[in-house]
């Protein structure tokens, strides 16, 4: 059964003793200047890190702590030399946290690319060391399920072109564009909607599953609402991390409002960002987010990192899922894309303003534009996953193009539908996906 440990109780954890000990022995002072803001921030935010990233930072810092002075000097030699050349000590460089000013100073240095390479080498060395440790987090079966909803018109000849043949399209039988339920919603399932266990129930039955193993990120509200309805009465824990773009409207608008006050000045930008990092966002969150500090902080960080998360629902979905991969390495991700409006005449230049509020012209859906956005974002989600070892071998990625009655399948050879030549029913697809996940005996990190 799913561990009873809630997100909240995860957040209350203290630093592991061996890490605390390393810090007490002055680990931080042994690090190069440009390593410090990231490291300090991770330590400070420990309560808000996902299990995967805790394990990852712990492994890195313990590796560094166990090096002798000579070994550490050797590891960081190139970075330290570059810091000297860049003149980092003379910069107004925060060693406490990552700031926009820090990023700007680094990025405009002539040595920036060299510095990036040197940093990457250090991470590679640490990763190499980690690779020698026993790991069990790359073996489990994983699922990425995306849907481009039926409202979005797709061109059959172009829709999968950018995937460059990494998978293959499969026809779905008897899919009606006017069906009341989205395909992804059917696949999630719930005891009320369908017979048998849905994806969330199956995940809940997996052994040793972490709270961050299943994510639903929805440009609309129906998936999350369906999942919330499926929570048994009295259950304190949501069945997955549930994130819905429209349900976060108040959070988003308050953030946008603050960002709109920013002057064109790095110091002011950092001041606004610092304020936003401190603001209590709980009142702006729907219950499924407000009650879970780790998710709340994930969203805060998502909004502060840009990439359109505050502006367009499909960007929010893509960037949210990408960050989930990077930070949590979930086993199951369900993502649904949606529709954005066309930019309104004149006022759309003020991109952080809520167009619905500032311009009385009615919003007009941009269906072809949203379809193109979703097509590219779906590919980006797959590409984001495929950067990581955990998704290299045992991952099934399904992207449903509802308007075409088609699903694009990227999967290992043992996934039966990869070889299917005839159209499959939605139930057939659902059953195959459920079997894939149900067969999972992975042990979470």
């Amino acid at each position: 059964m799913r561990e009873s440990q809630t997100v909240s109780s995860q957040a209350e954890r203290k630093l592991p003793p061996q890490l605390q000990q390393a810090l007490n022995k002055g680990l931080m002072k042994r690090l190069p200047i440009t390593f410090q803001p990231f490291t300090r921030q991770q330590i400070r935010d420990w309560s808000y890190l996902f299990p995967y990233e805790r394990q990852s930072i712990l492994s890195l810092l313990l590796y560094l702590a166990n090096l002798t002075d000579a070994q550490l000097a050797d590891l960081f030699r190139e970075i330290v030399q570059l810091e000297e050349k860049m003149g980092v000590r003379s910069w107004q460089f925060s060693t406490e946290e990552q700031t926009i000013l820090n990023a700007s100073l680094l990025a405009r240095s002539p040595y920036y690319q060299d510095w990036r390479k040197a940093v990457q080498k250090v991470f590679d060395r640490a990763e190499e060391h980690r690779g020698k440790e026993p790991r069990n987090d790359t073996e489990g079966k994983r699922l990425i399920l995306m849907e481009i909803p039926a409202r979005l018109p797709l061109e059959p000849s172009k829709v999968w072109r950018k995937w460059e043949g990494v998978g293959r399209p499969l026809k779905l039988q008897s899919v009606s564009p006017t069906a009341p339920l989205g395909l992804a919603e059917i696949l999630i399932g719930s005891s009320q909607a369908r017979e048998g266990s849905g994806l969330l129930e199956i995940m809940a039955e997996q052994p040793n599953v972490s709270f961050a193993d299943t994510w639903i990120i929805d440009a609309g509200g129906n998936l999350v609402e369906a999942a919330l309805k499926g929570i048994p009465t009295g259950a304190s824990t949501p069945p997955a991390i549930l994130i819905s773009y429209p349900r976060l409207a108040e959070f988003r608008e308050n953030f946008s409002h603050q960002i709109n006050t920013m002057q064109k000045d790095l110091a002011d930008a950092d001041a606004v960002y610092a304020r936003l990092r401190q603001t209590d966002v709980s009142p702006w969150c729907p219950p499924e987010v407000a009650s879970e500090p780790v998710i709340r902080e994930f969203l805060r960080s998502l909004y502060l990192s840009g990439n359109g998360a505050l502006i367009y629902a499909n960007s929010f979905v893509e960037w949210g899922v990408s960050e989930a991969f990077r930070r949590a390495r979930p086993s199951v991700v369900v993502a649904q894309f949606g529709v954005r409006s066309k930019p309104k005449p004149f006022t759309s230049v003020a991109i952080f303003e809520n167009q619905e509020q500032i311009n009385p012209l009615p919003a007009v859906d941009d269906l072809p534009g949203s379809a193109l956005d979703a097509q590219v974002m779906a590919l980006y989600i797959w590409l984001a996953a495929s950067r990581f070892d955990e998704y290299q071998r045992n991952t099934v990625c399904l992207c449903i193009a509802a308007s075409l009655g088609e699903v694009y399948v990227v999967a290992p050879p043992e996934f039966s539908l990869l070889h299917e030549s005839e159209p499959v029913t939605v139930d057939g697809l659902r059953d195959t996906v459920m079997q894939w996940i149900a067969a999972n005996q992975r042990v979470a990190p």
Partner: protein, 406 residues
């Protein structure tokens, strides 16, 4: 784990830049000051003035924001640039591999093009380029008026500092007029919002009034328009030029993006002042930072059309026809699909997708249309264009492009 400041590390200065809200700069007070302070000698208002110094050539540089080869001069991308590919490419000198080897962010990229040296200054435009711009070389050598050199730009990452360097013996006295028409729109929207009149922005007649109010109120610093010296009055000729563009922009019923207004102001400036050196910077493509691929591609199509319309204006305008070299190039590309910097959203990668773009050269400086395969660099452009304008002595990290000459 992400120490490197890329898309996944919690910074996105580009978003923050886009968020800049000029309301707080008391725009109404300053707009008039800015335009009034532009140095427009009476002689410059005559229109149709021929160059009496230098080569007599005119140069127009059209610079797009970040666009990848994949969405432009590639098999799949060509459909996004019908005018560049079909109308202009056949008559152009086409440089296939134009490299930005500097900082791939807006202010530094454009100032590197304009100075011929890789610039590493504050990318929010707080500091000017450290070596002289093309404007300064040209104006200093020939005593040209400020109104002979203009930067007209949509990009909000730029400031008036783009018009002149901090170099000794050069600097603002030799700088260009710099105007940001899109900032006028942003300011008008913000002002209407602040004063409870945002509903006006849904009515074209009222939008025009809002934009003109911004001009009339005399409050320009927040717009970033160039100031040289200070009176509080708006030169009627300049004001008329911008008003003309606004009227066309609002009443034509056409598209209303920032680049459309930048184009219309540029065209009016060409008609009223016929500058010998004009740099037009389009940036609708930068909506990519917010992740809409469709709107990014729409921005490319807009830039393609507007660059072509500028070329048509050159052909129709006797001050420019047969005397002008026009170059069209992006500031840089964008990051490749699947990169840790979130692909086309950003332009921070050290990859060919981000660093390698292209350039079309058209008009008088082009001997015969051809494709140049050898890689060239952004910093090669300043000394080349300076040569066309008759001032070959430029201290540049670049090398003149010998295929482009008077």
């Amino acid at each position: 784990m992400n120490l490197i400041p890329d898309a996944g590390s919690g910074f996105c200065p580009s978003d923050a830049r886009e968020s800049v809200d000029w309301r707080r700069r008391n725009l109404l007070r300053l707009i008039g000051v800015m335009l009034a302070r532009m140095n427009f000698p009476k002689s410059a208002f005559a229109g149709g003035r021929q160059g009496t110094d230098g080569s007599g050539q005119r140069v127009i540089a059209v610079i797009f924001g970040g666009v990848r080869r994949a969405e432009t001069f590639s098999t799949d991308g060509i459909e996004n640039i019908p005018h560049l590919a079909n109308d202009l490419f056949p008559q152009s000198l086409f440089f296939r591999d134009v490299r930005n080897e500097g900082v791939t962010a807006h202010f530094n990229a454009i100032s590197s093009v304009l100075t011929g040296n890789w610039q590493h200054v504050d990318d929010w435009g707080k500091l000017p380029p450290t070596t002289p711009t093309l404007f300064e070389y040209f104006r200093k050598k020939f005593g040209a008026e400020r109104s002979d050199t203009w930067v007209i730009a949509s990009n909000k990452a730029l400031t008036s500092q783009i018009g002149a360097s901090s170099a000794a013996n050069f600097g603002p006295p030799y700088g260009a007029n710099v105007v940001f028409p899109k900032q006028l729109m942003v300011a008008a929207v913000s002002n209407a919002l602040r004063t409870g009149r945002s509903r006006n922005m849904a009515d074209r007649a009222k939008v025009e009034a809002e934009l003109e109010n911004m001009l009339e109120a005399g409050n320009y610093e927040g717009l970033g328009w160039t100031v040289s010296d200070g009176t509080n009055r708006l030169d009627p000729r300049v004001r008329g030029t911008v008003e003309e563009a606004i009227t066309t922009f609002v009443r034509s019923g056409g598209p209303t993006s920032g680049d459309e207004l930048t184009f219309l102001v540029s065209r009016e400036v060409m008609r009223k002042f016929s500058p010998r050196l004009l740099v037009v910077i389009f940036s609708d493509v930068e909506v990519a930072h917010f992740g809409s691929y469709a709107l990014h591609v729409a921005g490319i199509r807009t830039g393609d059309r507007l660059a072509y319309e500028l070329w048509q204006e050159i052909q129709a305008n006797p001050d420019y026809r047969g005397k002008t070299t026009m170059v069209v190039l992006p500031e840089f590309g964008r990051d490749p699909d699947g990169s840790t910097t979130n692909g086309f959203f950003n332009h921070r990668g050290n990859t060919d997708s981000t660093r390698s773009t292209w350039m079309l050269a058209l008009g008088l400086g082009v001997g015969k249309p051809q494709v140049i395969e050898r890689p060239i660099q952004h910093v090669d452009l300043c000394c080349t264009l300076a040569g066309l304008l008759g001032c070959p002595s430029v201290e540049s990290q670049g090398k003149p492009l010998l295929e482009l000459r008077v």
